[in-house]
C-alpha cells in the first residue's frame, strides 16, 4: 500500500512541477522583453471580418507593443473603457461615443473607417420597401408587420448596430420601447451573423452592416437581398478613442497614441481600404482619414460629418489631451 501511495503522490508532484515550471518559465520569458501590452476592446462587427488580425500582426512587427484585442461589442467595449479594463476602444456608435468623451472617460477620438448599414429583407419584399428612403421604408415595415405580413428582427444586444437601429426607429417617429412588445418585432439577442441567419430562415427584415452581409451571402444559399442602401442615415462610422489617462492613471496611453498614429497613417488606411478585396465582390471598409482631410471630400464625407461629428469636429479640442498633431 505504501508503494502505491508513493506512486500516486509522485505523479502529482511531477505533473504539478511540470506545469508550474512551464508557467514560471513562460512568464519569465515574457518579462524579459521590454514590449508593453495594449488592451483594445473592439466591436465584433469589425473583429469578425479578420481585419484586426491583419492589423495586429502588421503593428506588432513595427512597434514594441503587443496588442490584446478583446472582441466584445460596442456596449461592453465602452464599459471596459469606463472601468479602465482597456486602453483603447474601437467602436461604431457615435451617440454613445459623445457621452464617453463628455463624461471624461475618453480622449483623442479619431474616425478611421466607414461603410454602410443596409436594410435587408426577403426577395419578395412583402412590405414593399425596395428603393424607398429609410424613414418611409421603416413605416412600411411597421404597417405590414401589424397586418401580420412581415417580421422585423432586431439585434437586441446593445451593440453599435442595435444602437443605430434604435435611433433610426426614433427618427422615423416610432417608440422602440413599445415596438418590442409587438408580435412582428423580434429581438435576436445575438451577433450580426446569427441575426442574419435568423432573418434568412424567417424571411424577415433586419438592419445589417455591409461587411457582415457580404460575408454571409458568400457561399450561402440566401433568400435575402439589400433593399435600402447608401443613404446618409445609414452611414456606419468606426472610430477609436483612447481611455483618459488623467481619469484612469494605469492605462497605456502612450501605446494607445502610437496605435492611433499607426491607424491613421497612409499605409494602414490603404490596408483597411483594400482588405477583403480579393475575397469579396465589394471592399468591406472605406478609409476615412484622407476623405475627411480634403476639403472636397464629396457627399460621403459630408454624411460622416453630419452623423459622426461632435460640435463640428471628430474630436473637439478640449478632448484631444494635447495630441493636436493627430488633427492637422
Amino acid at each position: 500500500m505504501n508503494i502505491k501511495s508513493n506512486h500516486f503522490v509522485l505523479i502529482f508532484i511531477i505533473l504539478g512541477g511540470l506545469i508550474s515550471g512551464y508557467y514560471i518559465i513562460s512568464s519569465l520569458v515574457t518579462q524579459e522583453t521590454d514590449r508593453t501590452n495594449l488592451i483594445i476592446s473592439t466591436t465584433t462587427s469589425i473583429y469578425d471580418t479578420g481585419l484586426l488580425d491583419v492589423i495586429e500582426i502588421d503593428f506588432e512587427a513595427k512597434y514594441a507593443i503587443d496588442i490584446l484585442f478583446i472582441p466584445v461589442g460596442t456596449g461592453q467595449a465602452i464599459i471596459h473603457g469606463q472601468r479602465g479594463d482597456s486602453d483603447l476602444i474601437l467602436v461604431h456608435a457615435p451617440i454613445r461615443e459623445y457621452d464617453f468623451l463628455v463624461e471624461d472617460y475618453g480622449v483623442v477620438r479619431k474616425i478611421i473607417a466607414y461603410n454602410f448599414f443596409i436594410i435587408i429583407g426577403s426577395k419578395d419584399d412583402p412590405a414593399g420597401v425596395k428603393g424607398r428612403d429609410i424613414k418611409d421604408a421603416l413605416k412600411h415595415i411597421v404597417d405590414s408587420g401589424r397586418r401580420g405580413e412581415s417580421v422585423w428582427i432586431s439585434r437586441g444586444d446593445d451593440s453599435g448596430t442595435h444602437t443605430r437601429e434604435k435611433s433610426l426607429w426614433k427618427e422615423a417617429g416610432f417608440d422602440v420601447t413599445s415596438l418590442v412588445n409587438e408580435s412582428w418585432y423580434l429581438e435576436a439577442g445575438a451577433g450580426m451573423l446569427s441575426t442574419l441567419r435568423l432573418a434568412n430562415e424567417k424571411g424577415a427584415y433586419t438592419l445589417s452592416d455591409t461587411s457582415t452581409f457580404q460575408k454571409f451571402s458568400k457561399g450561402t444559399q440566401i433568400e435575402l437581398e439589400i433593399l435600402v442602401d447608401q443613404t446618409k442615415e445609414l452611414i456606419n462610422v468606426y472610430s477609436v478613442i483612447a481611455v483618459n489617462p488623467d481619469l484612469i492613471e494605469w492605462v497605456n496611453f502612450e501605446g494607445a497614441i502610437q496605435f492611433i498614429e499607426y491607424l491613421i497613417s497612409e499605409d494602414t488606411q490603404d490596408l483597411i481600404a483594400n482588405f477583403g478585396g480579393d475575397i469579396f465582390q465589394k471592399k468591406l471598409f472605406s478609409s476615412a482619414v484622407e476623405l475627411l482631410k480634403s476639403s472636397s471630400g464629396g457627399i460621403e464625407s459630408q454624411w460622416i460629418k453630419d452623423i459622426a461629428f461632435l460640435d463640428g469636429s471628430e474630436c473637439p479640442p478640449q478632448y484631444r489631451a494635447g495630441q493636436n498633431q493627430l488633427y492637422d
Binding site: F8, I11, F12, Y23, D53, E56, P71, G84
Partner: protein, 234 residues
C-alpha cells in the same frame, strides 16, 4: 443529410487541422489543457483537504456544508465569470493584481468553478471507504492524520473520478474563459472560446472541427487518467 455531410467533412477537417501540424489549433488545444489542468490541480489542492474534513470529522452544520457544495455543482459559469470580472476588473477590489485578461485569471476562475465537483465527488468516495480502515490504522499506532491519509489512498479511485470530472467541466466551460480571459488571440484563446468565435464568424466547419478537437482532448486526458488508475490504483 446536409447536416451529416457537414459533420463528416468537419471531422476530416479536424483531422487535417491536427495532423497537418497546424500550429494554431495545437497551440489552442495545449493552452486549454494547461489552463484547465492547472485549475484542476489547484482545486485538488484545496478540495481534497475540505473533502477529508467533511468525510472524517463530525461537526455542527456538516450536512449544510455538503448540501451547499452539492448545489454549487450546477453554478452557471457566466454568473461566476461576471462576478469574477467585477472582482478582477482594474477598478474592482482585486484590480491591482492585473489578472483580468490573463491565463492566470481563467485558472483561478475555473479552479473555483470545479472545487464543488472535487469536494462532492471526493466526499462520496471517501465516505464509502470502510471506516474500519481508519480504526485499524489507529490501533496499529497511526496518528489521526496518518489514518486519514490511509483512507484517502483507499478511496483514491473515487477521487480520481473527481479529478477527471473537474477537468472535463473546466476544459469545456465557456463563460469564465470568455469574461475573464477576453478571448485574446494567442494568449487567452482556448478551445471553447474559439468555437464561440468561429460560429459567430460563420465558419461553421471550422467551429465543428475545433469542437471535435475539444472532444479528442477530453478523451485523451480521460484515457491517461484511466491508465494511471489501472497501473497504480489497481
Amino acid at each position: 443529410m446536409n447536416m451529416i455531410t457537414e459533420i463528416v467533412s468537419s471531422f476530416f477537417e479536424a483531422l487535417n487541422l491536427v495532423f497537418s501540424g497546424d500550429s494554431f489549433v495545437i497551440d489552442i488545444a495545449l493552452r486549454s489543457i494547461y489552463i484547465s489542468g492547472f485549475a484542476t490541480i489547484l482545486a485538488l489542492g484545496f478540495g481534497i483537504p475540505i473533502a477529508m474534513i467533511i468525510s472524517f470529522r463530525e461537526f455542527f452544520g456538516k450536512n449544510i456544508i455538503k448540501w451547499i457544495f452539492n448545489i454549487s455543482l450546477g453554478f452557471p459559469t457566466v454568473t461566476l465569470g461576471l462576478m469574477l470580472f467585477l472582482l478582477f476588473s482594474r477598478s474592482g477590489p482585486l484590480g491591482v493584481f492585473g489578472i483580468l485578461y490573463t491565463p492566470t485569471g481563467i485558472i483561478i476562475g475555473q479552479s473555483i468553478l470545479v472545487t464543488p465537483i472535487m469536494v462532492s465527488f471526493s466526499v462520496s468516495a471517501l465516505e464509502s471507504v470502510n471506516p474500519e480502515i481508519r480504526n485499524l490504522a489507529k490501533t496499529l499506532g497511526a496518528s489521526d492524520f496518518q489514518a486519514s491519509i490511509m483512507a484517502l489512498i483507499e478511496g483514491a479511485k473515487g477521487v480520481s473520478l473527481a479529478i477527471v470530472g473537474s477537468f472535463n467541466r473546466a476544459v469545456s466551460e465557456l463563460g469564465i474563459a470568455l469574461m475573464i480571459g477576453g478571448n485574446i488571440r494567442g494568449f487567452t484563446r482556448v478551445l471553447t472560446t474559439t468555437i464561440a468565435l468561429e460560429t459567430r464568424r460563420g465558419e461553421i466547419t471550422q467551429s465543428i472541427a475545433i469542437a471535435i478537437v475539444l472532444l479528442f482532448t477530453i478523451a485523451g486526458v480521460n484515457i491517461v487518467m484511466s491508465l494511471i488508475k489501472r497501473l497504480w490504483l489497481r
